[in-house]
Subunit: 146 residues, 2 copies
């Protein structure tokens, strides 16, 4: 059984929640998508399995609490998530023009953040760093057309 499955099982047990068919399917779908996803995309990937969109919405907070997924960003009016296990922490670079999202390693920034956390006795649960601007392709186009 994959790591994330046992982790979800343990989490639910601890909370007194039940491991249901829908929850299993949603978790697996979240780990089969190797890109950012919103509730609807996750639901689409379960087409034909009779899992309701409402249940997807209800399960997302559980996966968040369990530390299995995280909110990657909010764009175009929707929350976009990504699964965590197996994906190292990273920075999101979002091009305001073409909306593409690039990722870079976050490790080098973490020690400095942890120092700041210690200074104020803050217990870090989740670090979100997103940087918006123009990707190199869109910079070139912007220069050409000016």
């Amino acid at each position: 059984m994959p790591d994330h499955n046992t982790r979800f099982k343990d989490f639910l047990e601890l909370r007194g929640f039940k491991l249901t068919r829908s929850r299993k399917l949603i978790l697996d779908a979240a780990f089969e998508l190797h890109e950012h996803f919103d509730a609807e995309k996750l639901h689409d990937s379960l087409k034909g399995l009779n899992v309701s969109l409402a249940t997807v919405y209800r399960t997302l907070p559980l996966l968040l609490d369990a530390g299995l997924i995280q909110l990657a960003m909010r764009s175009e009016g929707r929350d976009r998530f990504e699964h965590i296990l197996g994906h190292p922490r990273h920075v999101h670079w979002i091009c305001e023009n073409c909306k593409q999202v690039f990722e870079t390693n976050l490790d080098e920034l973490v020690p400095r953040i942890e120092v700041a956390a210690k200074a104020q006795k803050f217990e870090i649960n989740h670090i979100n760093i997103s940087i918006s601007g123009l990707c190199w392709k869109c910079r070139i186009n912007a220069n050409e057309s000016q």
Copy 2:
């Protein structure tokens, strides 16, 4: 005339937009609020001045484009903004329990981010760093009750 006023005027002129009564009022209100605000709070601070909420929503993107305000965070389903001029860049530490927001200086992290930006030829427009977890007060309470 305050710095932000001339800046807004110039911005609107450059874009061929008009400097209207409502826009002036909204800008001033945004700089009189010295805390994070959402559209409704900004609108409330204009109570009695006959500025519609729709116009507040329409003006927010202008202030963003003009670099006068920035999206600080999204919480409880609403976008929260803050004015920029006079406020140095900072990290947001959000307590998941009491929802309080703390701020720390961001300058030490910026050089590293800029190196990463250069490496991928990304033009930074806005850096957003928010860290969620537990503030020191809520950590104590969490320990006591366990």
